[in-house]
């Protein structure tokens, strides 16, 4: 059984349409993960001993266990505590929490490299802590961590393919279904790989554009 290019082409429309599900899930997750990541970072900077202790255990757990297991935990275990989520919501929650942890850890490193001066100046001008975060720290932080945020975006996009294992009808699952129906499992996989490559290229391209604009404004 050789490789059949026409089967790849035949699978592309359906797989491509289903991959748009991955795209919109990834967009939602990116926004949620960034918001959560910023939130975690601000909370950690308040330095409540107990809160930070709990956070550091949570962060270590998320960084030390596979995202697949975290997806299973959100999908199979949350219903036991009364939180019955449909597969898509559970998956979005799992990936967003996972990425937010990687984002806040990256912010931690970037914060240590920020300059004291602007914050001291803002404090001298009696800006409130909320204003200092919004006007002084976050603009610098986001600009500096943009390359990392873009690569986290590609990780998020790739992780959405894992939601096929909890029955979300996204690109990878549709490719497997086409493979099962046509008895040619290999070619639809090439089609879905192409879709992910294209989506990732778009994501990286947008990142480069934003980076250029940010650099222009900073100059």
């Amino acid at each position: 059984m050789g490789f059949d290019l026409s089967s790849v082409v035949a699978a592309l429309p359906d797989v491509g349409a289903a991959s748009l599900t991955n795209a919109w899930m990834a967009v939602i997750i990116c926004v949620a993960a960034l918001a959560l990541g910023i939130g975690f970072t601000v909370v950690r900077s308040l330095k409540y001993r107990v809160v930070n202790g709990v956070m550091s255990v949570f962060i270590s757990f998320v960084r030390g266990t596979p995202i697949l297991i975290q997806i299973f935990l959100c999908y199979y275990v949350l219903p036991l505590v009364g939180l019955d989520l449909d597969p898509t919501t559970a998956g979005i929650l799992a990936i967003a929490l996972n990425s937010s942890v990687f984002i806040t850890e990256n912010f931690r490193g970037a914060l240590a490299a920020l300059d004291d001066g602007p914050i001291e100046a803002a404090t001298a001008l009696a800006l409130t802590p909320a204003m200092i975060w919004m006007l002084v720290i976050l603009p610098q932080l986001l600009r500096r961590t943009l390359p990392m945020l873009v690569s986290e975006g590609t990780v998020i996009l790739k992780n959405t393919a894992l939601l096929s294992v909890i029955t979300v009808a996204e690109g990878f699952r549709v490719a497997q279904q086409i493979g099962g129906a046509t008895f040619r499992p290999f070619e639809p996989l090439i089609a879905v790989a192409i879709c992910f490559l294209v989506l990732n290229l778009i994501l990286v391209g947008v990142g480069v554009m934003v980076e250029r604009r940010g650099a222009l404004r900073a100059a």
Binding site: K47, N52, T65, P66, A112, D116, T123, P185, L189
Partner: protein
Amino acid sequence: MRLDPGVITDSWPLFVEGTLVTIQLSVLSFLLGLALAVPVAALSMSRHGVFRGSAMVYLAILRGIPFIALVFIVHYGTAASGARTPAFWSGVIALTLFASAYYSEVIRSTISALPPGQWDSGRVVGMSRLQTLRYIIVPQSLGSMIPPGVNVTIMMIKESSVISAITVGELTYQGLVVQGNTFAPFEVFITIALIYWGITLGVSRLGDRVERRIGRLQKSGRPTGGIAARYLTLTASKPVQ
């Protein structure tokens, strides 16, 4: 919600077996991935555009498609080409390819982070490019390769859970088997999560020790003034002035 420890005590041999297979997968792919990463890194730093281009395509594909797709492509791809690869080896091949892409990026970025004067100084004393690499560049960059290398290793160990999808009896697969038999998702998934957590924590400790051995534990961070430290540090242990 009630915890039933019986689920774990009854099926512990499965968890042990799964853990061993996960470790086998990880160790094999670590060694093979690192071995493959060296030529890929060499290509990506080559002076010839064709070599650099082919390395770029290799990296873009391996890092651009989801690992679960890579696993199935390798598994079905080797089957379609006539060779009947056991699922375990499909998993090893996929994980090796995946690891090689990320390890080669670690090698490339740490080497190119060295000041270019290091290469020039090698030439000045009459060394070839290879000699410069061997005696000047590698000894200096080895230490700084460890922390990102450990991160890639941990990422690779975690990704190995995806290989359960092609029925390799590693930890996640055994967990799913036990979950199917007992319908006790909480006990099962927490147990395998704790085992993975233990493995990755162990690897990261090991990485710290190797790094100390090589003798270059650079700690980043500089003294921050009291006011700015309120925003720029996230550890609660330090007293706030």
